[in-house]
C-alpha cells in the first residue's frame, strides 16, 4: 500500500471519529493542519489569559476595600491558572513551551485584542468581569464541547471558575449603580468603553473569518463567531437593564420575531488596528510581559540549579 493511501485511510478514520462525536486524544493520529490550527488557537488563548492579568493587576493595589482586593486577587490568580491549563493542554499536541513563549514575547503570536484597552478606574474592574469574562464564558462554554479532549477538559474547568469572575464584575457595577451620581457615571463610562471591544472578542464576522470553515468541520468550533456574539448580546442586555446601565448602541432593539436583539455595527477598522498592534496599550502590555519574563529568569535558573545540586548530592 502506498503512503498516500495510508494517509487517506487515517484521514477517513479521523473524520469518522469527529462525525461520531468521539474526542481526539493526544496520541491519536490527526491531520497536520488540525494539529497546527489547534496549537495556534490554544496558544493564543493561553497568551490571552496571561496578558489578561495585566489590566486587572493594575487595580489590585487600589481596590476600594480589603474584601474587593482579595476577590480581585483571586480572580487574577485564576487567570494565571487558566494560562497554565491551556499551555499544558497545548503541549499535548507536541508544541514546545519555550517556543510558544518565544512566539508570544517576540510578537509573532497574537492574544485577545480586548486586553489592549486601558483600565482607567475601579468601575473598569466591574466592566471587565461582567462583559469580558461574560463574553469569554460564552466562547469557552462552546469550546468545552470541542473535539480535542485536553482542550475541552481545560475549558470545563475554566468555565466553572469564570462564573465567579462574571458575578464579581456584575456586583461591582450593580453596587456602583446603587451609589452616588458620580459612581453611576463612572460605571456607565466603563461600560461605554468596554461594550464594543467585548463584542470584538468573538472575532471577525463569519463572512471574513479565514480559519472558520476547517475549524467548524473538525468541531473545534461548534458555533460561528456571529452566533456566539449574538448569544452574548441576548443574555447581557437584560442584565444591563436590571441595574440601569445603558449599552452604547442606538440600534439595540428587541426583535420579537426572531426573539433576539437587533444591534448596530462593529467598527472593524478599530478591530483590525488593535489586532495588528495599534491599540491603545499593545506596546505597554508587551513591555510588561517581557519585563516579567526577564525579571523571573533568575528564579527559574535558581530553582533549576537547586534541583540539580540536590539530585547530585542524593546520587553521591
Amino acid at each position: 500500500m502506498s503512503n498516500v493511501t495510508d494517509i487517506k485511510k487515517l484521514e477517513d478514520a479521523f473524520e469518522a471519529k469527529i462525525a461520531a462525536g468521539i474526542t481526539i486524544e493526544p496520541k491519536d493520529w490527526m491531520p497536520e493542519k488540525y494539529r497546527k490550527q489547534l496549537i495556534r488557537m490554544m496558544s493564543q488563548h493561553a497568551h490571552s489569559e496571561v496578558v489578561g492579568m495585566l489590566p486587572e493587576g493594575n487595580w489590585i493595589t487600589r481596590a476600594p476595600s480589603l474584601s474587593r482586593k482579595v476577590c480581585l486577587l483571586a480572580k487574577v490568580q485564576d487567570e494565571a491558572g487558566h494560562g497554565l491549563y491551556i499551555y499544558s493542554a497545548t503541549e499535548t499536541l507536541g508544541a514546545d513551551r519555550v517556543e510558544l513563549l518565544n512566539q508570544f514575547l517576540n510578537g509573532s503570536a497574537k492574544y485577545s485584542s480586548i486586553f489592549n484597552y486601558p483600565t482607567l478606574n475601579w468601575a473598569d474592574m466591574g466592566a471587565i468581569g461582567w462583559l469580558v469574562d461574560g463574553a469569554a464564558i460564552v466562547n469557552q462554554t462552546a469550546l468545552a464541547k470541542c473535539s480535542y479532549g485536553p482542550y475541552a477538559r481545560a475549558m470545563l474547568r475554566i468555565c466553572k471558575e469564570e462564573n465567579f469572575h462574571h458575578k464579581q464584575g456584575y456586583q461591582i457595577l450593580a453596587n456602583m449603580m446603587n451609589g452616588s451620581d458620580a459612581q453611576k457615571k463612572m460605571a456607565q463610562d466603563a461600560v461605554n468603553r468596554f461594550w464594543w471591544p467585548s463584542l470584538m472578542m468573538f472575532g471577525p464576522s463569519d463572512t471574513n473569518s479565514p480559519n472558520s470553515a476547517d475549524l467548524m468541520r473538525w468541531k473545534v468550533k461548534l458555533y460561528s463567531n456571529d452566533d456566539l456574539r449574538q448569544r452574548f448580546i441576548d443574555r447581557t442586555v437584560p442584565q444591563a437593564e436590571a441595574i440601569g446601565i445603558k449599552l452604547p448602541d442606538e440600534k439595540l432593539n428587541y426583535n420579537t420575531q426572531k426573539r433576539s436583539y437587533d444591534w448596530g455595527e462593529i467598527n472593524w477598522d478599530e478591530f483590525n488596528a488593535v489586532i495588528s498592534g495599534n491599540g491603545p496599550c499593545n506596546q505597554q502590555r508587551m513591555k510588561q510581559r517581557k519585563d516579567a519574563h526577564q525579571n523571573g529568569q533568575w528564579v527559574r535558573e535558581a530553582a533549576q540549579a537547586y534541583a540539580s545540586k540536590k539530585s547530585k548530592l542524593q546520587a553521591a
Binding site: G81, L84, E91, R97, E161, Y306
Partner: protein, 95 residues
C-alpha cells in the same frame, strides 16, 4: 544559561479520601516539591483535591491508540468473564 521552563509533570487528583486518582493536567516544575506546590496552585485552588500525585511525564508508559485493536483484542471473545454468560434456573434469587 538558556531559558528553562523546567520539567513537565503530570498531575493526578483525588477528589475525596478513598476515591480513585484522576488525571487533571500537567505542570512545569524544577523538582518534586515544587511540582506538588504548583499542582496544588494550578489544579486545587478550590479544594478539588484531598491528595495529589505528580509524576514526571517522561516516566509514564502508555499503550498507543493504534494498538487499540490488537492490544485489547484478547478480552474480546471472553464473554464467560461476565456474569450474564451464565444461566440459572428460574426462581433462583440473590445469585
Amino acid at each position: 544559561m538558556t531559558d528553562t521552563q523546567w520539567d513537565l509533570w503530570e498531575v493526578f487528583t483525588q477528589k475525596k479520601p478513598g476515591a480513585p486518582f484522576e488525571h487533571a493536567g500537567s505542570v512545569r516544575a524544577s523538582d518534586k516539591e515544587i511540582a506538588l506546590q504548583n499542582a496544588r496552585d494550578v489544579y486545587s485552588r478550590r479544594n478539588e483535591a484531598t491528595c495529589l500525585w505528580v509524576v514526571k511525564s517522561d516516566q509514564i508508559v502508555s499503550s498507543s491508540p493504534e494498538d487499540l485493536g490488537s492490544f485489547f483484542e484478547p478480552a474480546n471473545d471472553k464473554v464467560y468473564r461476565h456474569p450474564n454468560f451464565y444461566k440459572t434456573p428460574e426462581g433462583i434469587k440473590q445469585i
